[in-house]
């Protein structure tokens, strides 16, 4: 669990993080989105006790940032922006070092477990420097999980990975989510955030909005339903616009794009209306904005 209250970090006159108040319950995958320089990495560093806040408070896994720093670092796993492995040392040796630093009891067992889980066991004696970017990233993920942390901070886990490796990493994140761990995911990959996260926070020095991807779409763009008709009469569009629960209706070729709050409740009525007006409906579907559209809109508004 992560909770912050007006968390602020200032470097000189520059505020990197301003009044961040946030609650992430245990077991949630929280996507932390924002442009470069928005303060995402600074936030991760604050929450992992690598830097101290200028003001405000934060609690991670029930422990207080600034007071229980060593215990917090013991209870969290961090995947930093760059893997930062010891290139001259083998994969196994890299993980053993960290297992010792994290006070893991069964060092050998845990190292083997995660090397196998991430498909690196066969290459365990190879120096990390000989690994591809994807393999290094997997090794860094293993390092973040060796001590079975309750909360995991992942900073751009799939950046610079090929689609296959990125898919494997995403599957792995879902796997650790199933184990009930809290995951704080910083990413620029909006599709990834959409697929993995329970909630998303869009951040630019301060938090712009926090919600589930679906609700964010609805908040920013409203919900839209597209009716594909055989033929669209202008009068039909005007007729739809006059219905009380309809917020907007527009014709695009042989389609009518309807904005409404609650399609689940009102769609049947709308379909009945169209049929009664003689419209021949080919398809009905919800227009789903991508999270990228939502993000860009939020950035534009900010």
């Amino acid at each position: 669990m992560i909770a912050t209250d007006n968390l602020t970090k200032q470097f000189g006159t520059v505020k990197a993080v301003e009044d961040l108040s946030l609650e992430i319950p245990e077991g949630e995958v929280f996507g932390f989105l924002g442009p470069n320089g928005a303060g995402k990495t600074t936030t991760v560093r604050l929450l992992t006790c690598l830097i101290a806040p200028t003001s405000g408070t934060a609690r991670v896994n029930g422990l207080s940032v600034g007071k229980d720093d060593t215990d917090i670092r013991r209870s969290v796993g961090v995947l930093t922006e760059t893997p930062g492995m010891y290139d001259n040392l083998s994969a196994e040796r890299n993980l053993s070092i960290y297992a010792n630093l994290y006070e893991v009891k069964d060092v050998k067992g845990q190292v083997e477990k995660y090397l196998r889980l991430l498909g690196l066991w066969e290459r365990r004696t190879d120096p990390a420097g000989a690994f591809s970017k994807g393999m290094k990233q997997k090794l860094a993920i293993a390092r973040a999980l060796l001590h079975e942390p309750r909360t995991v901070f992942l900073d751009e886990p799939t950046s610079a990975l090929d689609p296959e490796a990125a898919h494997l990493v995403r599957e792995f994140i879902l796997e650790i989510k199933k184990q009930g761990r809290t995951i704080f995911l910083c990413t620029h990959n909006l599709d990834e955030a959409d697929r993995l996260c329970d909630r998303i926070g869009v951040f630019k020095t301060h938090m712009l909005v926090v919600d589930s991807p679906a609700r964010l779409r609805s908040q920013v763009f409203g919900r839209k339903v597209v009716f594909h008709l055989q033929h669209v009469e202008e009068a039909l569009v005007h007729g739809i616009q006059s219905i009380n629960f309809i917020k907007d209706a527009r014709q695009i070729d042989n389609k009518i794009l309807v904005t409404l709050d609650d399609p689940e409740t009102h769609n049947p009525e709308l379909v009945r209306y169209l049929v009664n007006q003689g419209a021949e409906i080919q398809f009905v579907g919800e227009l789903r904005h991508s999270l990228e559209d939502v993000y860009l809109q939020l950035m534009k508004n900010s």
Partner: protein, 263 residues
Amino acid sequence: MNKIKTIIRKEWSEVFRNRLVLFTVAFLPLIMTAIPLGILFSMRGETGLETVSSEMPEQFNAMCPADLNGGECFQVYLVSQFMLMFMILPLAIPATIAAYSIVGEKVTHSLEPLLATPITTIELLVGKSLAAVIPAIVATWTGFAIYAIGAWILIANKSVYAALLDSRWLIAIILVGPLLALLAVTFSLMVSARVNDPRTAEQISSLMIIPLMLVFIGQLAGLFFINRQLILLAAFFLIIVDGIMVYLSTRVFQREVILTRWK
């Protein structure tokens, strides 16, 4: 303590794969040991040096034991000049190791994951410092031990041997050596905060050898001669300087400073 041991082992398995570090740790002591032994070897059975004592500084003539003849005194004088070179080892070795272990880690971005572990800043600093200081002390002491054994074999007159290995050099090797090594590590830490390239860090850190070289040249020119009082004074001075440097390096080696100001 386990974490400190882990850091030391990690440092050694990383830096000793670097050829330059390996060269500095292995070959530099060999060279420094070979020079005085070479002088002793070349002067074996040398005659006609009885009158050269007049060429030596007064201070040294006064220090030379009465039971040694002029030639033997000259032998002690010549070898003593190079004993100071042993002091280069505790300066050069830690500077090289620290340059690669700290700046190297900065370059490969491996410091941040390391700082994210539950290791305390002091444990990390102690681990990294010991990883650089221990090889320097071991190399210096081993080199000196080899020199002592070699000199025992090469010198027939054991009074000459006793004059060569008198208390001032034992104090220098046993006490001043580790103090110099600590100075080198703390200085390298300061340098590490400012540079991004291990070679630059090493080059800047090696500037510390300059004062030692000035002492060497000064002694060779007869401006002064290193005696026990001077070495004890140097040890006292180094204890104070090391104390200040340790304090400053702990200020520099803080998580937040490393992550936000080490550029």
